[in-house]
């Protein structure tokens, strides 16, 4: 038991100590990594555990973000209401999308989620009086929950707390009997149906959960950036999350989180070094797909398995 707890304790210490070790800029960057880790984990719930690849996940990210931004900026609502409302609106968006999209499978599901997300994007882009169109909504304030989170370090701890709790919640979901049933559905829908499971209802609940966590990530990202813009719910954002999940390792939760952190770090780091950074990122993706089809986590596991053999 002690061996199991040690790495977690170490990780906790690193996350708590980070603002004392690294300059402000990296605290901001790690905050962004954590937020995208949550976003990627929520998408992994869909891809890895339900087996439904979505190209519209950024819609929930953006719904959460726009709700928080609009309520704070236009309605001057307290953050105690705005943040939960952001998650709630994303959840309701998830309910609506699930009703429409869960009729299809495979690439058709991909297309429907893409189309639905583009509708949300179109509204954010076109409804200028409400959303500010493609200028977005600048000037959103960081929230105050007991203490002011305007300072980057304080906000970082807030994000560590919420992303940590969400990660625990997601882990509990996928390890619960419900999560096991999802895995069963991913492997064979017909068999699970024959066993008496309501396949559609399981998928529906997982879809809504994924939307809710994506909404939380989006709300946090808006607070981090202090503005919201249609780019937050664009298909590029959805595709980026998809790459994070695939790079990290589908169906592992921790893998997508690492994939998210790594991609945010690489995008920032390599693009500062060279103008050819897109080429380098592309090569990294291709190499990962070729040599680590199960993602970085898969690679790590193969490595451990090989070493433990005599």
């Amino acid at each position: 038991m002690r061996r199991l707890l040690l790495p977690w304790a170490l990780a906790a210490i690193v996350f708590v100590a980070l603002p004392y070790i690294v300059p402000d800029y990296y605290v901001g960057l790690v905050t962004k990594m954590l937020i995208f880790a949550l976003f990627a984990m929520s998408l992994d719930l869909m891809i890895g555990y339900v087996g439904l690849a979505s190209l519209g996940h950024a819609a929930f990210f953006g719904l959460g973000g726009y709700t928080v931004g609009l309520l704070g900026l236009k309605a001057h609502v307290s953050e105690w209401i705005a943040l939960p409302a952001g998650v709630l609106v994303a959840t309701l968006g998830g309910v609506l999308f699930a009703f429409l999209a869960l009729r299809a499978r495979g690439s058709y599901f991909l297309m429907i989620t893409l189309a639905l997300a583009q509708v949300v994007w179109g509204i954010a882009f076109g409804w200028r009086t409400l959303t500010g169109g493609d200028d977005g909504l600048p000037g959103i304030k960081r929230p105050t929950f007991f203490i002011s989170l305007a300072d980057q370090t304080a906000f970082y701890y807030f994000v560590v707390l919420l992303v940590g709790l969400s990660a625990i919640a997601l882990t509990m979901i996928v390890r619960s009997p419900f999560g096991l049933a999802l895995l069963g559905i991913r492997e064979s829908e017909t068999r699970m149906r024959a066993l008496g499971f309501n396949v559609w209802r399981h998928q529906f609940v997982a879809f809504v959960f994924a939307a809710a966590f994506a909404g939380l990530a989006g709300a946090l990202f808006v607070y981090q950036n202090k503005f919201v813009n249609p780019a937050f719910l664009h298909v590029v954002m959805s595709a980026e999350a998809l790459i994070m999940v695939i790079l990290g390792g589908v169906g592992t939760l921790l893998g997508p989180a690492i994939g998210a952190g790594l991609i945010i770090f690489l995008e920032d780091f390599i693009s500062s070094q060279t103008q050819r950074w897109l080429l380098i990122l592309g090569i990294i993706y291709v190499v990962t797909t070729l040599f680590a089809p199960r993602g970085l986590i898969g690679l790590y596991r193969d490595f451990v398995a090989r070493r433990s053999k005599p």
Partner: protein, 435 residues
């Protein structure tokens, strides 16, 4: 992978610790680098411009323009070396903001410069204001509100490139002088489009003209046939703002349908007759009017020298982006020189920026009290010179400010902002309604 949920605790956490350690180590080594700074430190400029994606050509030209000026002065001003750190904004606001944070907090730049996308400028603006870092918008980012008193105004921001409405005002004035009073307009369906065409409509109404028809094709539109067919042919002329290749396609279909001999075309901002597009348009581009704050064919010693140097490096004519970058760099250097290189004193530096006055490839440059450039507007017409197509200036509006032909007070007295006038531009009563 069906055993995905059986991952052992230890290996998950192990991976997380490794990731954390990588971040910690790499940043620690960067800290050491920063400590080794010199006694008389260089001035570091963070240049934010897209070098990937659809905006990359504008970004790269703007960067080159700035580099050409810094090379002229040997990357040195008031005894301090100038260090230019270029970051790719990718025309994505969240990326632009992260890059600005990186430049200010990690590279410790004293000044931010560049920015092509207005969305990125809006995202960075607030951050620069909070950190009190001077932000010199020297590339395309033209959102009007950034330099007009209001919620977005930023005391540490100056813009040496352009704004959205002035080329529109020049277009309206020129068309009225030509006697074209009834104008059909087309603008791309996005914020920049409404801003530009709203500015045109307001100026036209003010001068006594009238918009007879508004059309808003989507920004990614490919087929302009329907818009050409719908065009109000009783109008005296067409004015349009269709950036990013849209203008090019519109002109092609406009010419194919034989309308070019019937209706003169005014291309606000010169998006269709953008220099790299002219060879594609060929003879159909001849005679098209456009308004912009630059033309490579301006006959002044400053511009002939610049255009020649630019052509030698790139083998093509500069558009407005390279001179914009050049002017931003020179304005910065002149201001830094005026305060003995002490750019860390933000308030004095911004005052010095607002006081610069010099001659440039674009014409004479000065700044107003809000930090927006006062420069010349050119009406250009495409001509064939030898085998090349050139935007030859046919009229000049020298030294116009951001509110021209209105005053600030008059500009502020109108009830509707330009972006809110979409669909009502044909109604001059509403356009000119007072608060």
């Amino acid at each position: 992978m069906s055993k995905g949920h059986h991952v052992r605790f230890a290996e998950r956490a192990g991976a997380r610790v490794v990731a954390g350690a990588i971040v910690a180590f790499s940043s620690a080594s960067l800290l050491v680098n920063q400590a080794a700074a010199q006694a008389k430190p260089p001035i570091k400029i963070g240049f934010i411009a897209p070098t990937s994606g659809g905006f990359a050509p504008s970004g790269e030209e703007c960067i080159l323009g700035a580099k050409m000026y810094f090379e002229e002065i040997g990357y040195e001003v008031a005894g301090r070396k100038i260090e230019l750190i270029v970051e790719d904004e990718q025309a994505r606001p969240d990326v632009g903001l992260t890059k600005a944070q990186k430049l200010v907090e990690r590279d410790n730049v004293q000044v931010l410069m560049g920015v092509v996308s207005s969305a990125v400028a809006l995202a960075i603006n607030e951050y620069a204001r909070d950190k009190k870092v001077p932000l010199i918008l020297s590339c395309d980012a033209g959102a009007n509100e950034l330099t007009i008193p209001g919620p977005l105004a930023n005391p540490t921001l100056v813009r040496t490139s352009q704004n959205g409405r002035t080329p529109s005002a020049a277009a309206a004035d020129f068309m009225m002088k030509k006697g074209w009073k009834n104008i059909a307009v087309l603008a791309a369906d996005y914020a920049g489009g409404f801003d530009t065409i709203g500015g045109f409509g307001a100026a036209l109404c003010k001068l006594g003209g009238k918009i007879t028809q508004e059309q808003y094709p989507p920004i990614t539109n490919n087929d302009y046939g329907p818009y050409v067919t719908n065009l109000d042919q009783k109008a005296d002329a067409v004015a349009m703002f269709l950036p990013g290749g849209g203008g090019l396609r519109f002109i092609k279909q406009f010419v194919e349908m034989g309308l070019k001999t019937k209706l003169p075309v005014m291309d606000i901002y010169g998006q269709a007759v953008y220099e790299p597009f002219l060879p594609q348009l060929g003879d159909s581009s001849i005679g098209i009017y456009s308004t912009l704050h630059y033309s490579s064919a301006i006959k002044t010693p400053a511009n002939e020298k610049f255009a020649k140097a630019y052509f030698e490096r790139t083998k093509h004519q500069p558009s407005d982006n390279a001179p914009d970058g050049w002017v931003g760099a020179k304005a910065f250097a002149d201001a830094a020189k005026a305060i003995d290189g002490n750019v860390e004193d933000t308030a004095r530096f911004i005052d010095a920026m607002k006081a610069v006055k010099f001659d440039s490839p674009k014409g004479p440059i000065a700044l107003d009290k809000y930090g927006q450039v006062i420069q010349s507007m050119y009406v250009r017409q495409v001509e064939k010179v030898g085998s090349d197509y050139v935007n030859t200036p046919v009229a000049t509006y020298p030294n116009v400010d951001q509110f021209w032909p209105l005053s600030f007070e008059e500009f502020e007295s109108y009830k509707y902002r330009y972006v809110d006038l979409k669909g009502s531009l044909t109604n001059c009563g509403k356009v000119l309604e007072k608060k």
